[in-house]
């Protein structure tokens, strides 16, 4: 029978055993707190959850490899935040993370949320690595704490246009007319405006620009317009659901332009689309964030992501690499001090990563070495077609009907 006295002794012993790991940890370096902030609920939940997965995988890898060496093997402790797909909720999370004493923040996927979170973090001199957030305003406000590793929206669009012209010239200029289908928020409208301004300078005629809301339940009307316009190239600028419905409707209505060409998003940078719509995806071209296909670390990372039942989407590897960028800076700062980390980020030359970027060099918080890649769905897989240094297959342009 257990008396009260034996119960107490046993409990004390159990408590001692349970608390032992903490004692051990106290002897080694104190962990470095890093805020991992994404919209994991609400409209952007899918992308936000993908980003969080990427960040957690990176932190797991870094901790397994011995933590931060300059700080005596200190482990990274992730403070997870949910921006709820709203900028103000993102800001509130930054406030909480600041109060909890994080050394830096990685996040926050969407441009609108990044605009808010970087600004709030700036109040506290808190370094903020932007993982995706393509709007260029993010790095144009002179915030000293903000660092975007990936390419912005203008770089991507300009690159997309240059590459499209190159593809078309190489094929003997078969394409002359363009139709743009875009969603009606900041991303789609901005892309469409930039494209319809620049494409005519390169000899393309923009025949039609159609916008649609999110969600749009049916794309047959837009495709009917497309049939009457009969453009050589269709440029969609929308999110996954609408993109998928649009392409399915095009296939059903037997509209097959010489190319389907997306800027920042599309089937040729989405393994998910490839799996769900294999018949529709073939030949599609994207200019988007993409990894260096020749890097040996990609295949095992992709396999791990897929093991978890997720797709290896750009959100995952962009955030994964962003965490490494931050850790590289903490190693060089040899400190968890925010100002020291900010300085280390500003002078970063981080190059040991799986993205196809030139040397890292931050100018006003933007990594000038960053670039998107041009990918195409060829034989049921995503292949890099431009630039030559990363090419896996020759472009199919125009696509055979």
């Amino acid at each position: 029978m257990t008396t009260r006295r034996t119960f107490l002794t046993q409990s004390a012993a159990a408590a001692a055993v349970l608390s032992a790991p903490w004692v051990v940890r106290a002897h080694s370096a104190t962990p470095v707190k890093v805020g991992v902030l994404h919209p994991v609920t609400g409209a952007l939940a899918y992308s936000g959850q993908q980003c969080r997965l990427g960040a957690l995988l990176a932190i797991e890898d870094i901790n397994k490899a011995g933590g931060i060496k300059a700080l005596g093997g200190a482990k990274i402790e992730a403070l997870l935040g949910d921006a709820q797909s709203r900028p103000e909720a993102g800001s509130a999370e930054v406030e909480k993370m600041n109060a909890a004493g994080v050394s830096a923040i990685v996040g926050a996927y969407a441009s609108a949320i990044c605009l808010a979170t970087t600004q709030t973090a700036a109040k506290y001199g808190l370094p903020h690595v932007v993982d995706v957030g393509v709007a260029d305003q993010i790095v144009e406000r002179g915030l000293k704490n903000t660092f975007r590793f990936g390419p912005g929206y203008r770089t991507c669009t300009e690159r997309a246009i240059t590459d499209l012209v190159a593809l078309n010239d190489a094929a003997g200029k078969p394409a002359k007319t363009v139709m743009i289908v875009h969603e009606d928020s900041l991303f789609g409208t901005g892309t469409a405006a930039l494209l319809s301004k620049t494409l005519p300078e390169h000899g393309f005629e923009v025949k039609e620009v159609v916008k649609h809301p999110n969600p749009t339940r049916d794309f047959n009307n837009i495709v009917l317009r497309m049939r009457s316009v009969n453009p050589d190239i269709v440029i969609p600028a929308n999110y996954y659901n609408e993109y998928a419905l649009l392409l399915r409707a095009m296939k059903q209505q037997k509209v097959s332009p010489k190319a389907i060409y997306s800027v920042l998003g599309g089937a040729a940078s989405s393994y998910k689309f490839l799996k769900e719509f294999p018949d529709v995806a073939n030949g599609i071209i994207d200019c988007n964030h993409w990894f260096n296909p020749k890097d040996a670390r990609v295949a095992p990372l992709k396999a791990r992501v897929e093991e978890k039942g997720a797709y290896f989407s750009y959100e995952v590897f962009m955030t994964y690499v962003s965490v490494y960028l931050l850790v590289d800076a903490i190693e060089r700062a040899k400190s968890t001090d925010r100002a020291a980390i900010t300085d280390a980020l500003a002078s970063s030359t981080f190059s040991d990563h799986l993205m196809p970027y030139g040397p890292t060099k931050f100018v006003n918080g933007q990594n000038t070495g960053a670039q998107p890649l041009l990918t195409q769905v060829i034989d049921g897989d995503i292949k890099v077609i431009i630039p030559e240094a990363y090419r896996q297959a020759n472009a199919q342009f125009p696509v055979k009907a």
Partner: protein, 291 residues
């Protein structure tokens, strides 16, 4: 260019096929409103549940969405009966405003459960006929949409027959019109409530089977349909079945033509312009009885 008869015909046919599915969603909503006098805020969430059921039957058991129709309808019927009997009726304590909040709460619970189980990932199914089309004159109509139209018409006809010709239908109409009187005539009002709710949910089951081959499912998918369905119900006359059917088809065509001529962002305006006009000049709805 857009006035080309071939394109116009395509747009109208396409609108009719989309509208038929809207009508199915609206039929369920109008039945529940007509009998229980509650606005079922959980309608969109219930559609989402049905869509996930169709998705799981296809992905896990390989059951074709059209083959799954009887099972999903039956499942939704049972779920509806259970929801009304066990949750909505008990929690309402006989007050309509309580029911409103209960259904709103239900929708939040269902959506968040879906978020936990399925994540916010959008899913769609791939069938042999997903990309098939049928030529009707110069127009190409996607086969799944054509089947959805035919199926929706059959389900609507069966529902109308049940309401007009069967004892259950008579009981439902009696309860809808005069609860006290129906009770005095020996009709089990609570049972009729539950059956009406169940039939309304079964309509959603049918809508889900017709919808998924041409659409997708995620936890938020219902909200896109429920606003349209509310519009249709008010447009057709609250509680009117013929109104829901005609209203659904009308909204489908208006949305389609609006999208064609004004673009899809502005095209949605057409729906609400008609809605406002009906409220101004025929507030009881197209088929509603004058209050």
């Amino acid at each position: 260019m857009l006035w080309d008869p071939a394109i116009l015909l395509s747009a109208v046919l396409n609108g009719l096929t989309t509208g038929a599915v809207y009508a199915l969603v609206a039929l369920g909503l109008t039945l529940i409103y007509g009998v229980l006098h509650i606005i079922n805020f959980a309608h969109g969430a219930a559609l989402m549940v049905a869509l996930y059921a169709v998705y799981l039957l296809k992905e896990r058991l390989g059951l074709d969405p059209y083959m799954a129709l009887p099972f999903v309808m039956a499942g939704m019927f049972v779920l509806g009966y259970f929801l009304q009997r066990v949750i909505i009726s008990r929690a309402s304590h006989g007050k309509d405003e309580n029911i409103l909040l209960v259904t709103l709460g239900l929708s939040i619970v269902l959506e968040n459960l879906a978020l936990v189980w399925f994540k916010s990932d959008t899913r769609s199914i791939d069938t042999a006929y997903t990309l098939s089309t049928v030529e009707i004159g110069p127009a190409l109509i996607a086969l799944p949409k054509l089947i959805a139209f035919a199926g929706a018409m059959v389900v609507a006809a069966v529902l109308l027959w049940v309401i007009r010709r069967t004892d259950l239908g008579r009981a439902i109409r009696a309860v809808a019109k005069e609860k006290q009187g129906a009770k005095l005539m020996g009709i089990d009002v609570e049972r009729v409530y539950a059956l009406s709710f169940a039939i309304g949910m079964a309509c959603l089951g049918a809508a889900a089977c017709f919808l998924l081959p041409a659409y997708y499912v995620n936890p938020q998918v219902g909200s896109g349909f429920v606003l349209i369905a509310f519009t249709i119900v008010v447009l057709g006359g609250m509680g009117s079945f013929a109104g829901a059917l005609v209203g659904g088809l009308l909204i489908g065509v208006v949305e389609s033509l609006g999208g064609l001529f004004l673009g899809d962002s502005l095209g949605q305006m057409g729906i609400f312009a008609i809605f406002i006009l009906v409220l101004l000049f025929r507030p009881q709805g197209l088929f509603g009885a004058r209050a």
